[in-house]
Symmetry: D3
């Protein structure tokens, strides 16, 4: 089984870190490949970045399908282009926010999301509504750190741990959901230090898509997610014509 984890930004060091987190849930017979597009934003911190990451994601899916990929994980907590990806990918596609928040729902009544920048909380709220977990999400918290400083800033872990503690107590919640792919590697240590479940969406996404493939399930082609009608694409985007 071949699972492709797409980091939708173009920062290779983050892709490697995502790959390591994904490996944690790879089982015998499961190959996980972490990739990122060649074009697009270096990090995703706004609706603008989110939208402009989608062409790169599409290219990674088209390439993955050509290589026989069985299923995809989108490794950015905004789940950019998720519905478009489902229309075109051959196998199932799982967003990391979707997987993280639904996974958390199996572990308690409510969860708190802890993320990087406060301006991205609105997007997480929209996704929580879309995924039916708005009621279960007890609070959204930001540690005010740019995405690309997560890896390099040595104070990240302490700051994140403190934010998680405050979130659990202040929200009276049961579970922490990490709201950035950059946090993926920190989940096990955090869970240990907090004494509460910590869900990393990269691992949750890989576990979920693996389960779908094992069940023989993929995106329904009955109606909304049938292959898009073929048509002309003009100008610099002409390569995207299906």
């Amino acid at each position: 089984m071949l699972i492709r984890v797409i980091n939708p930004n173009t920062t290779a060091s983050m892709t490697r870190s995502i790959g390591r987190a994904a490996e944690r849930v790879a089982a015998p017979g499961v190959i996980v490949q972490a990739v990122n597009p060649g074009s697009g934003p270096a990090s995703i911190e706004s609706h603008y970045d989110e939208a402009l990451a989608v062409p790169g994601i599409v290219e990674e899916i088209v390439a993955g399908d050509a290589e026989g990929v069985d299923g995809y994980v989108l490794a950015c907590f905004g789940d950019p282009g998720l519905l478009a990806a489902r229309e075109i990918a051959h196998g199932p596609v799982v967003g990391m926010a979707e997987a993280a928040m639904r996974t958390a729902a199996y572990l308690g009544r409510s969860f708190s999301v802890v993320t990087t920048l406060a301006r991205t909380i609105g997007r997480a709220q929209d996704l929580a509504v879309q995924f039916g977990v708005a009621q279960a999400c007890a609070g959204y918290h930001a540690i005010d750190l740019p995405v690309l400083e997560v890896d390099t800033d040595p104070a990240t872990y302490a700051s994140l741990l403190e934010a998680c503690r405050r979130a659990l107590a202040g929200d009276r919640s049961d579970v922490i959901v990490l709201g950035c792919a950059g946090f993926a590697g920190l989940a096990p240590t955090l869970q240990n230090d907090l004494g509460a479940p910590v869900v990393d969406g990269v691992a949750a996404g890989v576990a979920t898509v693996r389960g779908l493939i094992d069940q023989g399930l993929s995106t329904s082609r009955v109606l909304e997610f049938a292959r898009p009608p073929a048509k002309e694409y003009a100008g610099t985007l002409s390569r995207f014509a299906l």
Copy 2:
């Protein structure tokens, strides 16, 4: 990894059929054991049956924990006793309705539930609200067949297939969710005949709990799902004192 699938009714032939469906998603290193309690209803077709299936489920969890079970699946579409089971089981517990409906949400916008008796639809609606998938559930349909006749009635498959076809068309939905553990073995054939994803909650439950275990996740003990306070139990239920 040892996963126990609990059929909450006392009909052994149904337990065996559930076990076969569960095996479909067992992976290398995963042992799935299908069990049923020694006391309780022969089938679950009412709120009354649902409630009185819980003592038997509790006994199967206590026994499972003693045997080192890593995680549980409740194999009845009413997810009886799910929250109580979470409080006492050592590992994660997943209900088959919960797993089926959340799994369906990865495959399209909406799903239709097809079940046995119309009187159980209310329970499914309550669960859909609890699991955050009420919006995604486009309709509930019953084929008006008692649970224990599913296996023995040769007309079941034709009737079920027809109900699924009508559900997809009438609800304009993307996915079928099978609303009875008795249907578990029929999912692959149905999916083939319908040309649309068919989710069986037994397989979905096993895949989900396996994924949780692989991620190192279990029920949060922070607040609501901490171990229940110890206390006296009187009379014929005294063996349930924790």
Copy 3:
């Protein structure tokens, strides 16, 4: 008119206190009997206790129906087994949480629930959704006292009064709903001291079921709440076969 108030735990002193609260709203021609099962938990403080209280409730309903009871009140704020009870009881069945929260809705825009243990708040939230009062419930508050210490702890009243005051002010709510049958006797004094309506679900339940009986109304048998299909019950639960 004969109304049976079922205390679902097995502590007789609590049953007597519930009986006294129920008497407050008995009218000429209305006989209220407070009972508790012989088997089950000594108090209800978890989903586990809640679930295992149901067999005892069922026995009290079967016995009550044999005695000609006209209607039932379930006197535990978790309303355990409410839907199962409706299926089998001859007359109407009202849960105390259901009655308390709906009664509060006639008295103002919003109410605050004050209960014993924080771990039971999740159950109250689920019930608020089920009963359509989630929007009206402005907050849930716990005084962190085990149920069986409510009667014996002389500091209970002061602690409860203080929690109610904080709830009204902090939630900007209009009404207090007492979230434990053990508090039933304290409602009139609390209302007096707070200067705001205080709803005790035992009294609210008796008033509500009496009103249903006076209107000639009982549970609909049209579909979901028709009598459960007869079937075999195995093992130690065989006496529950209908």
Copy 4:
């Protein structure tokens, strides 16, 4: 105990019929008086009628308070002026739609509303949201008969019975809620003919307000429903200055 049932329209024959329905649930020691204002619409069939019925209702409450009335029922399914009435009445105030729809919720999962004119369905939907029963209301049905012809048209009963039958079957609902005070007298016969519970809001309102009074409960004066600030009223409405 003195309960005043206010028919908000000015048609005396309808007031008498409402009075008879209210008497059905009067108990020993309970006096029910049915009244109507001297000014306002002859029937209530629009938002316009609804709004212009309120001054008359206010006058009936002011007069009732002067006579020592203990509680009020508003006997029009639109519950006109309910919140204003709560602000000024000394005792509790219950709307008939509010009482009917909440009462129905004790009897099954869902109910169907059957009313006179289709144009009033929107108002009923707004009330269902306000009272937290929108989820429980499975459908709204109109028999297309002006309110004042209900009493005089001999075909009313047959037409209503037929509409109730279609509603129960088509909505898969458990209970009928009668959506017009003009139907009040027909509830017992309808219930008998349908074999399903039929809730008349006049009786439900009287039973509810009686229960509130017995519990010593009335509208909270803490915040929103404190007595309105005194002020000048100009012109033809100057008598309404508090």
Copy 5:
């Protein structure tokens, strides 16, 4: 184009101030007239005032239709009588709360309402639900000032500015909605001082109704908002018979 802005209270100085705020968005060819009824409450600060303002509003609409008014704005944040007004007015009718809250939704994810008296917040919450903006409304705040002191109290602006600042920060919201027609003139200065959009419902209402008229749109007469059935009105309200 002739737009009538109805101040539903009888205080002429407030009508003039509303008129000035309305003028801010009048365009070439648009005449805005601000009026108030001759009878009714001097200010609107309760459900009672709200209800008794409606007869005066009706009179202003009947008079306006006779003068050829093209559309109406109701200039009180409780939108009193909005649905009744729609039934009878010839052109479109827009409430100022409705327009303000929907306008705010174009400017960010969430808004905070800042109003005069805390007791009116419940009404604003009801309207937010009715208009579909409950999710977008992040908080309601009161400055505890009677409506008629807004103009005369020199400390109003400072107090309002401070409340808006606290609302934006505490609610993490994007936009301020002014919750009283008395605040209308202060919006531009507040917006300047806050550095965040401030929506005044009088201006929003005029802009909205002007847009509807330009599009050739008015209230649908298909069903609920068809002209009310003609009928007798008794007593002092007889002039309201249609």
Copy 6:
């Protein structure tokens, strides 16, 4: 005042038709320019097309801001890239679905959406939730016509009229919302033939953004919609670095 209406697809004939519809609501002093990007899909009929239309929209906004555009309308019923557009545009941005559905809410209780392809209904439902009008939307209907055949197929009007008639009757709705920019020119004739309000989102969008500009309102920069953080964009998308 300069308003730019962006047709997000690259079909110039559709842009011209949208421009004509927009002109209908241009007032004295308002210049409306209809444009389309040079690169991207020829029509928008899937999530895939929707996502890949965003780079073109971004380019049109950057160009518009350079020309001094005061506000934008996105003229595709999927409102592609709306939140990203709000982050970067200098003035307010209004989506045509957003404007159409909110405008319809002023005209009655409920509306029906009539669109081209059934597969786009899911997107409209997501938007209805996002804009708070899900409750008001009574139904979604498709005429099964590719977007680019709307103009050329002579049977379009008859088919659309018939679908609108069925929608109003079957949904018991008050208003039609046209769910495709290609229908914009047909609104006045449809409204005339149906005898019910017909809202075209292009006109509604222009009227709305004009109103915002007249009120001095634009997107809040307080938090989520502040200008995105500057960063590197790699590869073929490097021109999108802010």
